[in-house]
């Protein structure tokens, strides 16, 4: 009897909550998860363009303003069409996400809306400003004075970065929920600024910022690299390839360093996520990094992989003998279920990230020593696939961090299963969304192919420049 009176609940449970509207009904959980994941997967490449593409286009326009060479202007104008297309699709897919937060996770929003909402408010304002200046920039090419037009692109670039930063702040908060206390399941003492500038903010923002340049840069460059490989060797194609490629090539090697930083933060603050990334079943001193194989839930370890001794401890703590926490440091119900998903995604991201860093180094090295692009056809082939690879790495990275975050929607505080809606029929919504996204993607592809087929570089009003011998 006395032992019952004095037994305390585990400390972790005291700081958890099932939320303001009550949790627990989970029959819609799978549908809700998949719908949310689908929407995020579609939205995130557009975010990269929002972060990086305006700066790349402005750079191109800057080249035009400095040299007067109409080629730069033509490329910048053409890319402006992509800015507005991707912004429009980004706004639309972002709006879907706002709706989904409420439709799918009403208890999460009800419980924590005033904790992390400030960042969303600032993000909304940023995108509003971005929308205004995208319209002015894209539709004002021939109408506004040259310098005014260029300057109108600057708020567009800044707002894009700022807006993305605010959203990433929210994701950082989900992984590192700070800025409040939990007292008997109730959220109190809310400090929205602390929540916004959580401990994950800096490395997540840095990592995504560089990822933005890698995706936008490599993807844009790859389009022209394909044209190059098909025999289109004009100055137009070369220029349109080099400029975005330069941005990406500079970002990719730095991303390796930032990735290392991110990994070490995760090791410190979300050790169970790191354990899932590696498939480390038990807490280990001097833990190895296992390449390949698969994680077996029943045996709680990776089978069939190649173990590189001490490497995980080295990567996670820069100390080969550091102790790395394993999955069994918490109860099974507190671990991410799909460990292999997290593991393989992590492998993919690191592998591609390394390859892209090498590609970047190849370009930078050759340019430094020989003041030209590498001559080898393999270089262009690499650039041609670098865009798609960068997108795959992007998605893989987000899968690592979001699936690795499970089962928490606010890490160690609220579970996804308590956040989900109690309404039925979410499966139908997922189906409808799949159909609509399929339409959206095919429309976008159709439009991009139309734009590509449009012989922009043979436009009538620029015939004189062509006659001047540039095409």
């Amino acid at each position: 009897m006395l032992s019952h009176l004095i037994s305390l609940a585990p400390l972790a449970e005291l700081s958890q909550t099932t939320g303001k509207l009550g949790g627990g009904t989970t029959d819609q959980l799978t549908w809700a998860r998949q719908l949310q994941a689908l929407s995020l997967i579609i939205h995130i490449p557009l975010v990269c363009f929002g972060i990086a593409f305006p700066a790349i286009v402005l750079f191109m326009e800057g080249l035009y303003l400095r040299t007067g060479d109409l080629l730069y202007k033509r490329i910048a104008k053409r890319w402006s069409k992509v800015i507005i297309l991707f912004f429009a699709i980004g706004v639309v897919t972002g709006t879907i996400l706002s709706f989904e937060f409420g439709i799918l996770w009403p208890n999460f929003m009800a419980t924590f809306g005033d904790v992390f909402g400030l960042a969303f408010g600032l993000e909304g304002l940023a995108f509003f400003i971005e929308g205004i200046f995208v319209a002015i920039y894209v539709y004002g090419w021939e109408r506004l004075p040259k310098k005014v037009h260029f300057l109108s692109g600057v708020p567009m670039a800044i707002a894009g970065i700022f807006g993305a930063t605010m959203i990433i702040s929210v994701n950082g908060w989900m992984n590192n929920p700070v800025g409040f206390d939990v007292v008997q399941g109730v959220i109190v003492d809310i400090n929205p600024w602390r929540a916004l500038f959580n401990d994950y903010f800096w490395h997540e923002v840095a990592h995504m910022y560089l990822a933005g340049y890698m995706v936008a840069g490599f993807l844009t460059a790859s389009v022209y690299a394909v044209a190059w490989l098909k025999g289109e060797r004009s100055r137009y194609v070369r220029t349109a390839m080099i400029v975005p490629l330069a941005f990406a090539a500079l970002a990719a090697p730095v991303q390796v360093i930032v990735g290392d930083w991110a990994g070490r933060e995760v090791a410190k603050i979300q050790p169970v996520k790191l354990a899932a990334m590696e498939g480390l079943g038990t807490t280990t001193k001097g833990a190895p990094f296992t390449v390949g194989g698969y994680y077996s839930h029943s045996d709680n370890r990776v089978k069939g992989g190649v173990e590189i001794p001490k490497l995980l401890s080295l990567l996670a703590f820069h100390d080969p003998n550091a102790t790395v926490e394993g999955l069994d440091s918490v109860a099974p119900v507190d671990r991410p279920g799909p460990v292999n998903t997290v593991r393989y995604s992590f492998h993919v991201m690191v592998a591609i990230g390394t390859l892209l860093a090498l590609l970047g180094a190849w370009l930078i090295g050759t340019w430094w020593r020989r003041r030209r692009l590498p001559g080898s056809k393999w270089f262009y082939r690499a650039v041609a696939v670098s865009g798609v690879l960068a997108v795959i790495a992007l998605e893989a990275g987000w899968i690592v961090t979001e699936v690795g975050r499970q089962p928490w929607i606010a890490y160690d505080v609220m579970r996804v299963s308590d956040a989900v809606t109690h309404a039925g029929g979410i499966g139908w919504l997922l189906l409808a969304a799949v159909v609509v996204y399929a339409c959206l993607i095919s429309m976008a592809v159709w439009l991009l192919r139309r734009l590509a087929a449009d012989p922009e570089h043979l436009k009538e009003d620029e015939v004189s420049t062509i006659a001047g011998g540039e095409a």
Binding site: I84, V91, G124, L125, G131, A135, H422
Partner: protein, 356 residues
């Protein structure tokens, strides 16, 4: 501070109702513009008018959602979970609409333009209708506090919610017609401007009749709201709205081109303000759901409300001049995207073969 946040939210709803509503309404006129041949010129005008500003318009919706979940999180969670079906319909409609509009300019054949145009126009009807039913459900006290406690279908498929949905579509069409009079006149398309004037008068008549019909419907289906709209500040707003509506119709009849935009905006804005006053002090008023939630109880943390309001005030320093510049450039015609040649498309099609 929660009342400031609520006022900001309602202001956002007003801007969305006017500007987004006009945007959706333009889709209605696009749908009813006529055959590919006869409606081509009007469709061209509509697209030219919408082009530069439609993204900025729809950011209001996100603004409203974000302020809602930040300042009134439990209201947001209760409302979204109970009303997920119309919200999801609106969500999917917005996707399709945005895509169709962005792509329509690239159509090379009449059939392509027609397919995209139909998608655009139909979603322009469905989205405001769905959002209207959401407003109607909240205002008539049919949403309960909690995680999807209310019945999924009856919450928005009931006479009052449907009525508000239809009214929203009508108001959008009306506002759009008013705006398009001014836009087509600015483009020098006098015949189209006259066509929109006729449409504005017709839509105004329909909207007015619907608004009047609202009183008996609200009396039976949304009693608390009815009481709020027929007394105090709610009544003041109703009167202001009616007067502004009449002023708009008078000016349109007399051929005034640009001022009716303002009075139409005031008419719509007064309705949303009236809704807010009529429903206070509740976010979820008394009604069939037998579950209420006051503004004070729904309000989020004070620190957050202050930070949010401060952030908005700060952002307005940049936003207002930027928006003013955008509208100025648009109204001066300095920002129009190239007109897509719908007439040429239709003519080319008739001559047998697609235009390239």
């Amino acid at each position: 501070m929660e009342h400031v946040a609520l006022a900001l939210m309602l202001l956002g709803v007003t801007f969305y109702a006017v500007l987004g509503g006009a945007d959706f309404g333009a889709g209605f006129w696009d749908l009813t513009a006529g055959s590919a041949r006869s409606g081509a010129e009007m469709r061209g005008v509509i697209e030219r008018a919408m082009g530069p500003v439609w993204e900025a318009n729809h950011v209001w919706l996100i603004f409203v959602l974000v302020v809602c979940w930040t300042a009134f999180p439990s209201f947001f969670g209760s409302m979204m979970s109970s009303l997920w079906v119309p919200m999801a319909i609106a969500m999917l409609g917005i996707i399709l609409r945005g895509a169709a509009f962005a792509l329509r300019g690239q159509a090379r054949t009449v059939n392509e333009a027609r397919a995209l145009g139909a998608t655009f126009a139909l979603s322009s009807l469905i989205v405001p209708f769905a959002l209207g039913t959401v407003v109607g459900a909240i205002a008539s006290g049919r949403v309960a506090y909690g995680n999807a406690v209310t019945d999924t279908w009856s919450v928005f498929l009931n006479p009052f919610s449907i009525y508000v949905g239809v009214l929203t579509v009508a108001l959008g069409a009306y506002t759009a017609a008013i705006f398009l009079i001014g836009d087509s006149a600015r483009m020098g398309k006098g015949v189209i401007a006259a066509a929109f004037r006729r449409r504005a008068l017709a839509a105004g008549g329909v909207a007015g009749l619907l608004a009047i019909a609202g009183l008996p419907i609200a009396h039976s289906e949304a009693r608390y709201l009815y009481d709020g709209l027929t007394s105090g500040m709610g009544l003041v707003c109703v009167i202001v709205s009616a007067l502004a509506g009449l002023a708009t119709l008078a000016m349109v009849t007399r051929g005034v081109l640009q001022w009716p935009r303002l009075t139409a905006a005031v008419a719509v804005g007064a309705i949303t303000a009236g809704w807010g006053f009529a429903q206070s002090p509740y976010m979820l008023p008394p009604g069939p759901a037998n579950s209420t939630l006051t503004i004070d109880a729904a309000a989020g943390a004070e620190a957050t409300l202050i930070a949010l309001t401060g952030g908005i005030a700060f952002a307005l320093i940049f936003l207002v001049p930027s928006l003013a510049w955008l509208f100025k450039l648009t109204l001066k015609g300095e920002l129009e995207p190239p007109v897509h040649d719908y007439e040429g498309l239709a003519a080319g099609e008739e001559q047998g073969g697609s235009q390239k």
